[in-house]
Amino acid sequence: MAIKDKSKIRIGKYMPYFYAGASLDFNLIHIDREFAQANGLTDIILQGMCTMGLTAKHIIENDHPSKMKTFKVRFLHPVLPGDELNFESEINDAEIDVEVTNQNGNRVLRGKATIR
């Protein structure tokens, strides 16, 4: 039987800067508003890998991290500072389907993980 799990996180105003420092991803579209806008974005956007990392955290919680065998995601919509992200996952045996939506109901990420 499928087990469902939900969690919610608000992306703080400075999260792209904090994640840049923690992850070494200093691509300017994440930290420089003028640069992001000059390259066709409405504002700085959160690193996709940050959204993926938060999704992995939702899946693993406090379990052993080796339980995650594979993890594949598609980034569907930009995540902006101030967004509220809703994580919803469904476990079927060794497979987990996960979806992340923002406060406007836009799907920002869809993914699948397998666990051992």
Partner: protein, 149 residues
């Protein structure tokens, strides 16, 4: 437009995982899993060092990817780059103290028209990361989108 001149480009680099970097990373992520931060707890499990979270792979792959991003052909594309898809296959766990060697190679580069009629470029990069004992830690596929104007 030539779209195949970056296929086959390959870079490699080492990254040594420190416990301090793991702690910084999980603090930013708000992750309180003791496997990452509690030395004594992890020692009681198997005598080893704390674990890195799975998506810490973004960090130990970064030095190899950075070499690629700074390549003269590739760097022109970076300002309009966004992440489209990401896939990880995890093998041996990555832990504090590990020396990870990563190879990154461009395997695909083609044009694709999106729903609004813009022509984007799709670039796929594959990475392979092994630890100091030659154990496979992670393989990854980065699918990047270079947004058309």
């Amino acid at each position: 437009m030539s779209t195949d001149n970056i296929i086959g480009k390959k870079y490699e680099a080492d990254y040594e995982i420190s416990f301090e970097k793991i702690k910084e990373f999980v603090e930013v992520m708000g992750d309180k899993n003791p496997h990452y931060t509690d030395r004594e707890f992890v020692k009681s499990l198997d005598g080893g060092h704390p674990f890195a979270p799975p998506t810490f792979a973004a960090i130990y792959c970064q030095p190899a990817l950075k070499n690629l991003y700074f390549d003269s052909e590739f760097s022109k594309l970076v300002p309009r780059l966004v992440h489209g898809e990401q896939e990880y296959n995890f093998g041996y766990p990555a832990r504090a103290g590990d020396l990870i060697h990563t190879t990154a190679e461009v395997v695909e580069h083609f044009n694709k028209t999106n729903r609004s009629g813009k022509v984007n470029q799709i670039i796929e990069i594959m990475t392979t990361s092994i630890n100091q004992n030659d154990k496979l830690v992670c393989t990854a596929t980065y699918r990047l989108v270079i947004r058309g104007k």
